[in-house]
Symmetry: C2
Subunit: 347 residues, 2 copies
DNA sequence: CTGTTAGCGCTTTCAG
DNA sequence: CTGAAAGCGCTAACAG
């Protein structure tokens, strides 16, 4: 039940050399002869030595750890993003410490403090729905900790971002609905404070214009886009907006809520009302095939964000110019006539 | 761009007192007078002091961090589990460092080493499909790091476990199919090496017996239960097992794969073939309502596992007797006649 | 209640 | 190429 306590000093003593040489050998420094390295490695193995990462970190003032803050892990988009982050970090020898803001700014602020206090080497962040500015990120900036925002972001210049082209995706989605014959397309919109939802709204609006359809403000239903909100919106549509023949939802959660409600009322999807939702790719495989989705590809965004962050970390102390990477979304359309569903790898 | 370097010595110097007093005050020790505490806190605030967690950790040989190893984050069951873990850890002042084994034993072994090297206070683990023993966990045991296994486990005594009653869940699921009139129930089975899948298989088999139905070995289809496997199994059933009128899948991923394949062939679910799959609760809200599921409630398991782990951590150095917590699963049955789908909170 | 002292285990000058 | 020595920032005896 004892902690395994063999230190570099123990192995130095056993070999009658100095601990600094041991340290160098274990770090594979070129300034130690191959022969002594071999002896040291062998001894270390034999004695079951394990580097005390804490001490090493303290001395180097570096933790080899990336901090990640996202609103909620169990949302598929974010868990895929984390999957990408974790894999990329792992490949590059970084650990990941992961936290959820649960959409609360206060929690997010605390988490940034914790991460800074834990001396993470960098932070990847997807801001909460309550976050309207980057004031709480000052702390990270002051401590020289590089940060990459992904998916959700405020529109302040000078930051690293990995984003989806929300405008284009929404434009395409709406355009798709029009091409399917929809003429009165409702929009389930998210909080307009978030740039992301603003962009999705704009894409919707301009696709209507481009197709010569009038923008009807009463067809825009605002909410936080939870499943319940989607169901409520669907109910509202059935009861008060009979002309609606298509729905563009700013996320998949609300889209599913709406779809299930409508199906419960025996409305045929997409024949009577067509639905398109923004969504993370693989999710769609468990979503009804009747639902067309705009692929958010969280895993790819996670990978890109991590690569960018590591680039910035390695650039220290001379910081690189901030970068913004914009991914183009793809429309994924499936239906029950398809022979085989899109397969995703056990996710 | 400079690291913020105010230490307890700086604030001690500014106040012309000793750094140890500062340390005590900042840890709110009762052995410092309220008045000096106040002065110290004020000064700390003023100078923008931030405790160096690394140094503190090194000194205390404790990191206030829990390590989590799961097969794959983006699987909904695991991301919900992590959600529960993270929330419980956060409430108790712990950080979470999270890693994926990607179902590889080698990776899992490496990760345990990394976590031990990082001096995590405890480990929560759901073993990979390749893991057949706990040999690689010796390292954690030797270093006195408590461990809790959840969901997937080997059947070796003396460990902390948080499990689902897989046997009962499978029994109930199969029983349910029989009560719906199914007489030839196929079973999509997972790797029999994993206790979990063995139990699910046993529940299936004994439910058949109890209902006076013969166990037909050729109706058991083995695979790794990916979506593709489910689709393949469904194809096999259509082509070579026409008598099948019900499917019990050992997980939801394969169940969805099978269901979507069958729907593509215009088979009515559940009228022509009924399907029940083991699944994490909230997932079911995005799964077709025709699919009945056995609720795995990942978040609850995550919470329980973390609570148990923290209990064990706090019990050090005298370890508590290992505990096994077994959750009873519930059958969740929905259908399109239901007025409203099960709502889940934006997950 | 506060100060003194001695490290936690490692890395990194600086000498030789 | 290796050794000696100092110290990262904090905590925890032990005195007083």
């Amino acid at each position: 039940m004892q902690t395994n306590n063999v230190t570099i000093h123990d192995i130095a003593a056993a070999l009658k050399i100095d601990s600094s040489t041991v340290s160098r050998a274990l770090n594979n420094s070129p300034r130690v002869t191959q022969k002594t390295k071999q002896r040291i490695w062998a001894k270390a193995q034999e004695m079951g030595y394990q580097r005390n990462v804490l001490a090493s970190n303290l001395r180097k003032n570096k933790t080899n750890t990336i901090g990640v803050i996202i609103p909620r892990i169990s949302r598929f988009f974010f868990s895929s993003a984390i999957e990408g982050i974790e894999e990329t970090a792992f490949e590059n020898g970084y650990n990941v410490i992961m936290c959820q803001s649960l959409e609360k700014l206060e929690r997010e602020t605390n988490l940034v403090q914790t991460l800074v206090a834990n001396r993470v080497d960098g932070i990847i962040l997807s801001i909460s729905m309550e976050t309207l500015d980057y004031e709480h990120m000052e702390l990270a900036r002051k401590n020289g900790i590089p940060t990459v925002f992904f998916d959700r972001h405020c529109d302040i210049p000078g930051n690293n971002n990995v984003l989806l082209n929300d405008y284009q995706g929404s434009f395409d989605a709406t355009d798709h609905l029009v091409s399917q014959g929809c003429r009165n397309i409702a929009h389930l919109a998210g909080p307009r404070d978030l740039k992301l939802y603003q962009n999705r709204f704009n894409g919707y609006k301009e696709a209507l214009e481009k197709n010569g359809l009038p923008f009807q403000p009463d067809l825009v239903i605002d909410s936080n886009l939870m499943e319940e909100d989607g169901a409520n919106a669907a109910q509202k549509i059935l009861e008060t907006l009979p002309q609606v023949d298509g729905i563009f939802s700013a996320n998949d959660v609300a889209a599913v809520g709406a779809m299930q409600f409508l199906k419960g009322k025996n409305i045929k999807i997409p024949d009577e009302i067509a639905i398109v939702g923004f969504s993370n790719g693989p999710t769609s495989s468990v979503i009804d095939p009747a639902l067309t989705t705009v692929d958010q590809s969280g895993k790819k965004m996670g990978r890109l964000a991590t690569e960018l962050l590591i680039k910035q970390i390695n650039a220290k102390p001379i910081p690189l110019a901030p970068e913004t990477i914009i991914l183009e979304p793809t429309l994924i359309q499936r239906d029950s006539t398809q022979k085989k569903p899109t397969i995703h790898p056990n996710t």
